[in-house]
Every structure is written in structure tokens, then in C-alpha cells.
């Protein structure tokens, strides 16, 4: 009997050892080619959030119906992009709770809880934006500035490493990005005087492979001169990373948008451009070395993090094929940038923008006077929430349209000198909404060749919802009032909406195939809702 048990145990072990890993580097390179998977924050390395699925079409989307709902039973809202692997959803939530959920039924399979310290320093909630995956492992950053690896089968912790000291204001909310054998993450906390960075960790061991500081030190030949030479302002210069970047395998380049310089508003003590804050940085995925950078907002004083998703695409501009990165920035401008050289091809405002007249031929904004915050307050558009923000845009490479949730807002910005104390919030100012200011939101379709808006659908209030597109010609987006909506991608005509009961915030719909059905999965509030067509409506195009 004992021999029999041993033999059984050995066979089980061998079977487990022989099981193919669930997510391979090739799977990540393939992105959304496998219709049953959603493997990374943006769906694939390009960050387009464009699915090839076509079961749900403009003709039948009106028949979409809720199939199941999953309630976390916890306080706090989702900002996650769930991953989908082999019929299982992996989602992270508030306070670093996380779940594995049956994608057919919404029934939970395991749950991860993290014992977080009480004295956390976070500006904007204990949120998390999602897992990354490789092999049979999941990776999640934590609000106490760690990176943890979990077993996909059980939720057990495989390793747990500290990124930085949470007690002085570091935190982490970004969904990691796996490239080859490395887990790429960034740190947050610019409102607490941190010095931002992007890190790479070995997926197997959790050992750090490299670190790129988003705030240049004085010995940096390019960025070092952009901070005051006689002070240590750079050591608390901000530059958070809290939205996942993208990856170009051909160039082996990572693209990340970086956060605002610190302190946010009062800038007398940080004269200069403050590189590499409020920038797009292109860095080598193997070494962490900077290849090029482009700074959207030199010497930012409006808290306009450039932590939006850099979306990669191929365009034909003036008859020439161009490899580009498209970027709708919090500062109100939309940019199409050559992703080989880092040079701006075209840039124009996509919302009302009063601080800069235009982006000049040298790539720098041509500033308009009267927009430096002071103690009396100065009115500037957009507000600190920006023309857009952390909500993911989407790009349809067939129609060559870029879809973004736009915010039409203005603010009165104040600045004052505030003494820095480690671990304390250090913004040196703030904003109010001007009297009689009527804010609103919109879904806008932008032609990235000309940086002009082709159509829009307006919302009565501003929205923080991301966007998803599908190859069937659909755009899915959320408004600020709790609706998930579907639009015809070419015309902007609204085709369907469903009231979720809570607005999508930093989340976007994702979509996957399972048992021949195309699901639309939507996180909002503390709930996941899965939609699909009734069986008689399901006909693959």
C-alpha cells in the first residue's frame, strides 16, 4: 500500500512538473492572438487595448446581457485590468486583495490578503492596477512598496521583495510588465518627496536586475543640468511611475510615462526642466539604460504626471512608414512621436488648453503667460486631473483612430513654499474649481497622423474610464455616471449602454473567448461584471 501511494505521489509530482507553464514569453509576444487570453495590462506589448475578437459586432452589441457579477465584499474600488488565462480571471483590488475567479461563472477560487502596515503614505487611495504573469506565477506591486510573486494555482506567496521604504512615502500601484525573464515595475510617491525609478526584477528569484531613476542625478550628462546645481532638490524630485508602460520587441525598448516633479506646484527650489519627470522615457529592457527621452511638460507646475499609456503603432505619414508612439497627455496635448528617434512628429491639443500656445518645432511647448501658480491663484486649463489621466486609451490599427477619454476642465492653481518633512505630503499648493466652471467629459476619436479630433461623444460629467476597441469596429468606454457603453468606432454612434451602479475608474473593459462565447469583462466599484450575447446572437464573423 505504501509503495502504491509513493508511486501515485511520484506520478502526480511528475505530471505537475511536466505541465506546460501557463504563460510563456512567446505568449506575451503574441499578445491577444490567443482569443482566450488577456495576459498583460494593455492586452499586448503595444498597449493598444485592441482585441481581434469579432463575435460582438455593431449589429448585435445591443443584445449584450450580464452573465454574472463578482462582488469583492471589501471596501475600495477596482482600478485593475484583470488577466485571463485558461478560463480563470486574476484580478487585484483595493488594499492589495487579489482573487482567482472562474471566468465562466464568476465564482472565486482563491483569494490573497496582504497584511498592510497602518502608517501608509498614499496620496490617492490603496489602489492597485493589476497583475502581470509569467509561467505559473503572478506579480503584483503593493501599496507598502513591495513586489510580490504569487502562485497562480493557489495564491500562495512565492517571493516578496521591497522596492523602497514605504515609511518615507514610497508606494506602488502599477501593474507590472513582464519582458523576457524580467518583471518591470515603477514606484510612486511624488507627493511625498520621493525620487522615482523603474526597476526590473528576475521573475524566478525576485532579485533586482537594474534600476532607472526617473529623476536625474547631477552626474547624469543629459538630465543632471536640469536641476539646480547647488541643491539636492533632485533627491526628492518626484517622477512617479504608476501606469504600466509598453514594449517594442524589435528595438528591445521599454516606454514609460513619468510623473510630476516634486513638489507639485511651488517650484522655486527646483529651477530647470527637471528631467526626466513629466516625460516619455525609452529604456533598454535588458539593461535599464536610457535610449532617448522626450519631456512633455518641462518644469511642470500643475501636477501633470505624464503617466499615461504610451501606445505603439505603425503609421504612414507623408507617404513614409513611421514607427510611432501615440500619447494623449494630461497636459492637454496629443502627441505622435517617432519611437526610434524620440522626435515629435505632430502634437495638438485635444481639450481646451490655456497654458501653451502650441508645441514648437523643437518639441518644447510655447508657453502662454500667467499660468505659474502663486498664493493668489491662477486659472489654467486643464485642471490637475488633466485632459486625460491614468485611464487607458485604445488604438484601432485598422481605422487608424486613437480613442481617449477626454476631460474638459479648468482649475485655479495655488502655490506656496512648504517645508519638506520625510513621510509627509509635500505638494506645496493645490487647486480649486473656478466659480461657474462647468466641467464635462467626452470620448474622443483622434487621427494620430494629424492629431485632430474626428468625432466625440459627450458626457455630462467627467469620466476616468479607460477604453477598449475590437476588430469588429466597436469602442467600449465608460462615463463618469456609471454607464459602460459601446460605440461604432468609425462614427461615434452610441450602440449600447448598461448602468453598472458605479463609474469605471482607471479601469477599462477587457474581452476574451471562452466556450465559443465572447465575454466583455468590466471592473467598476468593487464589482466585476461579465457580459455576453444570448446564444442565438452568437455568429462569428
Amino acid at each position: 500500500m505504501r509503495t502504491l501511494l509513493l508511486a501515485f505521489a511520484a506520478s502526480v509530482t511528475l505530471a505537475a512538473q511536466g505541465a506546460a507553464p501557463q504563460v510563456t514569453p512567446q505568449d506575451l509576444l503574441d499578445g491577444l492572438k490567443d482569443p482566450g487570453k488577456w495576459l498583460t495590462y494593455g492586452g499586448d506589448y503595444s498597449g493598444t487595448r485592441h482585441s481581434p475578437l469579432t463575435q460582438i459586432t455593431p449589429e448585435n452589441v445591443g443584445q449584450l446581457a450580464s452573465q454574472w457579477m463578482f462582488q469583492t465584499g471589501t471596501l475600495g474600488s477596482f482600478q485593475t485590468t484583470p488577466l485571463v488565462v485558461d478560463g480563470i480571471i486574476y484580478a487585484t483590488g483595493f488594499n492589495n486583495h487579489a482573487w482567482a475567479i472562474d471566468a465562466r461563472t464568476g465564482r472565486p477560487i482563491w483569494r490573497y490578503r496582504r497584511n498592510l502596515p497602518e502608517n501608509l503614505h498614499v496620496c490617492c487611495g490603496a489602489v492597485n492596477r493589476g497583475f502581470a504573469a509569467l509561467g505559473d506565477r503572478l506579480f503584483m506591486t503593493t501599496i507598502d512598496a513591495h513586489l510580490v510573486s504569487l502562485d497562480m494555482k493557489t495564491g500562495d506567496v512565492l517571493w516578496d521583495v521591497e522596492l523602497a521604504d514605504f515609511k518615507v512615502g514610497y508606494s506602488a500601484t502599477v501593474a507590472p510588465l513582464v519582458v523576457k525573464d524580467k518583471v518591470i515595475v515603477g514606484i510612486a510617491g511624488a507627493e511625498f518627496g520621493i525620487r522615482g525609478f523603474i526597476d526590473a526584477y528576475d521573475a524566478q528569484t525576485g532579485r533586482r536586475a537594474w534600476r532607472f531613476f526617473t529623476v536625474a542625478s547631477p552626474d547624469d550628462p543629459i538630465g543632471g543640468r536640469s536641476w539646480p546645481p547647488t541643491s539636492d532638490a533632485w533627491q526628492r524630485g518626484g517622477g512617479s511611475i504608476w501606469v504600466t508602460g509598453t514594449y517594442d520587441p524589435q528595438q528591445n525598448l521599454l516606454f514609460f510615462g513619468t510623473g510630476n516633479p516634486g513638489p507639485d506646484y511651488y517650484s522655486n527650489a527646483r529651477e530647470g526642466d527637471n528631467l526626466y519627470t513629466a516625460s516619455l522615457v525609452a529604456i533598454d529592457a535588458d539593461t535599464g539604460q536610457r535610449r532617448w527621452h522626450y519631456q512633455f511638460t518641462p518644469h511642470d507646475v500643475h501636477d501633470w504626471d505624464s503617466t499615461q499609456v504610451p501606445v505603439l503603432g505603425d503609421l504612414t505619414i507623408n507617404g513614409q512608414p513611421r514607427k510611432v508612439v501615440m500619447f494623449a497627455n494630461r497636459n492637454g496635448f496629443f502627441y505622435t512621436i517617432d519611437r526610434v528617434t524620440g522626435k515629435v512628429i505632430v502634437a495638438r491639443p485635444f481639450v481646451e488648453t490655456t497654458w501653451a500656445k502650441e508645441i514648437g518645432p523643437d518639441g518644447r511647448p510655447v508657453l502662454l503667460p500667467g499660468h505659474l501658480p502663486d498664493e493668489e491663484g491662477t486659472k489654467t486649463c486643464p485642471d490637475l486631473g488633466g485632459g486625460t489621466n491614468f485611464m487607458s486609451p485604445s488604438y484601432d490599427p485598422t481605422s487608424h483612430l486613437f480613442f481617449v477619454t477626454a476631460r474638459e476642465t479648468c482649475a485655479t492653481y495655488f502655490a506656496f513654499d512648504q517645508k519638506f518633512k520625510p513621510g509627509e505630503q509635500w505638494e506645496s499648493g493645490g487647486t480649486t474649481r473656478p466659480r461657474d466652471q462647468k466641467n464635462f467629459g467626452a470620448l474622443r476619436a483622434i487621427d494620430p497622423v494629424t492629431a485632430t479630433v474626428k468625432w466625440e461623444f459627450r458626457y455630462p460629467s467627467v469620466s476616468s474610464s479607460g477604453v477598449l476597441t475590437t476588430a469588429s469596429g466597436l469602442v467600449f468606454a465608460g462615463d463618469g455616471d456609471g454607464n459602460i457603453m459601446a460605440f461604432d468606432s468609425r462614427t461615434g454612434k452610441n450602440l449600447w449602454h448598461y448602468q453598472l451602479g458605479f463609474a469605471m475608474r482607471a479601469t477599462a473593459g477587457t474581452t476574451y473567448m471562452l466556450d465559443g462565447r465572447q465575454y466583455l469583462l468590466v471592473p467598476s466599484g468593487s464589482m466585476l461584471t461579465a457580459f455576453a450575447l444570448p446564444s442565438e446572437q452568437r455568429t462569428q464573423r
Partner: protein, 272 residues
């Protein structure tokens, strides 16, 4: 990493002081009230920081000079209020008014208190009623109760005024009576819905999204409408409340009416 913190963040900290709070001050302050030993009082640097915090988080309602805009004139209200009570008012807000509580760190509230104390108090608090309160009450009953409620009496088309004396400065009351269309409290914007058969429904907008709108019509019926079923939604610039110009309400009557309104401080729902 500051994200979209604007509205919520600001609401969490705006400032208002009320005489209801003065009533509540008779209760003993909690033993651990940080304002009991405020290290920032009189400190020049702290006062400057408090000024900045005040401007960002309080000035929208109370004015850049703290002399009141929609919210009360703080320079007139703070004279008799101990710092411990002021701290509690900042922390918990004022029930029945637009003044919310704050989740800001204790130290930031203490900085704001240091700034306000440095402003000094004026000699005659504006909370003292002026004018003929009894005549004001008569005017109110004749002109206002159709739409405004005090306690359990009056209409519901306009805002409940049971605690308006705690929520508004005198100048704000004058402005809102003389020119009500200058500012609409949230939920009281005037709309007219035109149905596809031409019926017009006028009321106040309670909520709205891209596909629907919820209103209280002039008969106080609350109802939601699908925009797809409407021909038009008209957002009006005028208030449903008539403008009580000097021709309609002379200055003496206005003074009496405001005298009455400033007495309306209602039962504080937080006091049990």
C-alpha cells in the same frame, strides 16, 4: 502621483463655522483634541502654510479673505469659539450644510486654525440678527414657503432652509435673494424637458447621465426620463426662484427677511 483628486479632495476639507457649533461647544471637547496644544499658533511660518491650505481648501466657500462668500464670514464667527471646537468642526463638518468633514492630517487642521486665529475676529459677529425678525418671518411665510422648507413645513422645490443661518453669510443671502440665477446649488439647476409630443416639464435637475435625467417638476413630482424619449432638454439660465429685486422686496424688508433667515439654525442632527 496625484490623480484626479480635485473635487473630492477639496470637498473633504472646506471650512464653515456655525452658531450651532457654538451651541455644541457646551459639550466637553474630547480629551485628545489636538487643538488643545496647537504648536502653530503665532508661528509665522505655520500661519503662512495655514493661509495656503485655507486658500486651496476653504476659500471657495468662505472667500479668499475669509470674510465669507457662500459660506459664513469666518472673521466674524470665530471670536467666541474655542480652538478645540473649531478643530472638531473642521474634522466633522457641519450637518445640514454644505460644509463637509475632513480627513486631512491633524497638523493641517492646526495650521488652518493658526491662520484663522491670526486674522483676528471682528467686534460684531454677523450672526447677531438685524432687522425685524418677526416681519421677516411673515415675509418668508408669504413669499418663500411655497418652495422652501423649514423643519417639517414648506415646499421642497427649493433647498431646505432649516439651517440656512448656519450655512450662509449675510452677503451670500442678499446675493441669492436678489439674483438667484447667479449660482445654483447642486441639484437645483433649472431644466425644461420637452417630450416628443410637445409636452413641457419644468423643474430642477437632480441627476443626469448621457442617457437619462432625473428631475423634480414644479408640482414636486420626482421622476426620471430617458433622453431618447425626449425631443429636447433645455438647460435654463434662470432660476425657478424669482429674482427679488428692490422693486419686489425693498431694502428694509430684505433686511428683515435676512434677519429671520439668520436665526434659522435648526436642530443640529449631530446633537443627541
Amino acid at each position: 502621483m496625484a490623480r484626479a483628486r480635485t473635487a473630492v479632495h477639496l470637498l473633504v476639507f472646506s471650512l464653515s463655522i456655525t452658531s450651532a457649533a457654538l451651541v455644541a461647544q457646551e459639550r466637553p471637547a474630547p480629551p485628545d483634541n489636538p487643538a488643545r496644544n496647537n504648536p502653530h499658533l503665532g508661528n509665522k511660518e505655520s500661519i503662512r502654510s495655514g493661509l495656503a491650505l485655507y486658500r486651496v481648501r476653504c476659500a471657495d466657500c468662505h472667500g479668499l479673505d475669509a470674510k465669507g462668500y457662500r459660506g459664513p464670514d469666518l472673521t466674524a464667527l470665530l471670536g467666541d469659539m474655542p480652538d478645540e471646537k473649531l478643530f472638531q468642526t473642521l474634522r466633522k463638518g457641519v450637518a445640514g450644510t454644505e460644509m463637509p468633514g475632513s480627513t486631512a492630517p491633524d497638523d493641517e487642521l492646526l495650521l488652518v486654525i493658526a491662520y484663522l486665529r491670526n486674522l483676528g475676529a471682528v467686534s460684531a459677529p454677523e450672526t447677531a440678527p438685524t432687522g425685524n425678525v418677526e416681519n421677516g418671518q411673515r415675509l418668508f411665510a408669504a413669499q418663500c414657503t411655497g418652495c422652501h422648507r423649514i423643519g417639517m413645513r414648506g415646499g421642497r422645490l427649493g433647498p431646505d432652509l432649516s439651517r440656512i443661518g448656519a450655512a450662509r453669510s449675510r452677503s451670500a443671502l442678499v446675493r441669492e435673494i436678489r439674483t438667484p440665477a447667479e449660482w445654483f446649488p447642486p441639484g437645483y439647476e433649472t431644466v425644461t424637458l420637452v417630450t416628443k409630443d410637445g409636452q413641457r416639464i419644468r423643474g430642477t435637475r437632480k441627476n443626469e447621465d448621457a442617457f437619462s435625467i432625473q428631475v423634480m417638476d414644479t408640482r414636486e413630482r420626482i421622476q426620471g426620463y430617458l433622453k431618447g424619449d425626449l425631443r429636447e432638454v433645455i438647460y435654463e439660465k434662470d432660476s425657478l426662484m424669482p429674482a427679488f429685486t428692490a422693486a419686489r422686496l425693498n431694502d428694509n424688508d430684505l433686511n428683515d427677511l435676512i434677519g429671520y433667515l439668520t436665526t434659522l439654525r435648526g436642530p443640529d442632527p449631530t446633537v443627541r
